[in-house]
Point group: C2
Chain length 157, copies 2
């Protein structure tokens, strides 16, 4: 199985880019992993929130291939403790053959088509984070899950 | 009211320091705010987790003055949505006269004495984050709360 974090729009802040890259680099020692960026939509000022969600959704669904498992990071998703998330990941690594694709949506959330295509929804927190922050949080948490699976001393219960 | 984020141990990673400083700087336009660092305990290898928690707890309680309100960031605390947290902050700003002190504990959590002294517990997430990450997340979230209170466009519901 390969894991992908699919995001909409580039991270531009240098510090966030460096920190995210650091965790992505560490992750690759444990799992095939790719951070895939869908370019920001152009001219969004002329679009309604609904249109923007729909167009982003089309871009997201275009990247999905048969056999991929889509998991949305969504405020209405299931909240895990880190140790539970590591068990969930361990199970996925044993059952998913193609790609496990985590998706972080744009500022207005996901279109109905994306919700329909997704197998599961995860929530990191009830709080809303900036798109840069949620990327960083997620890669750190995925790295933490990998170290828990391997029994390494990064995580304290 | 003045808000304080009290943490144990310095953040050393340059990127985290820069990002945290950036939000601290932004916060100061809205509220008296200080990030206060309790130095790491020395020679912790000879201490049990319980002893370490107790000694950190003593350091934390030493910083508290009469009239201060202590709020622990704790996995067993109340989880808020960002908008709920902003309402909670707004209420605190109108009712607390001295300092509102948020505390992030060390790796093993808080001593009983600290729990006894605290008025409330907040939880950012069920997940465990690194001490650097949780500081960054908290200052961003406090900044977000301030922009919500002021009706500024940083936050999307």
């Amino acid at each position: 199985m390969k894991a992908v974090l699919l995001v909409v729009g580039k991270t531009v802040n240098k510090q966030f880019v460096d920190l995210i890259d650091d965790y992505v680099g560490r992750l690759k020692h444990y799992i095939g992993f790719e951070l895939q960026v869908i370019p920001d939509l152009k001219n969004t000022k002329s679009l309604s929130e609904e249109q923007q969600k729909t167009m982003e959704g089309e871009q997201i669904l275009k990247t999905i291939m048969p056999g991929d498992v889509l998991v949305l990071l969504d405020e209405h998703g299931k909240e895990f403790r880190s140790i539970e998330f590591s068990k969930w990941m361990d199970n996925k690594m044993q059952t998913v053959n193609k790609r496990l694709i985590f998706v972080i949506g744009g500022p207005y959330g996901f279109s109905d088509a994306v919700y329909d295509a997704a197998r599961e929804k995860l929530s990191i927190s009830k709080m809303t984070f900036s798109h840069q922050m949620i990327r960083l949080i997620f890669v750190e948490q995925l790295y933490r899950a990998m170290t828990i699976i391997k029994g390494e001393p990064y995580h304290h219960e």
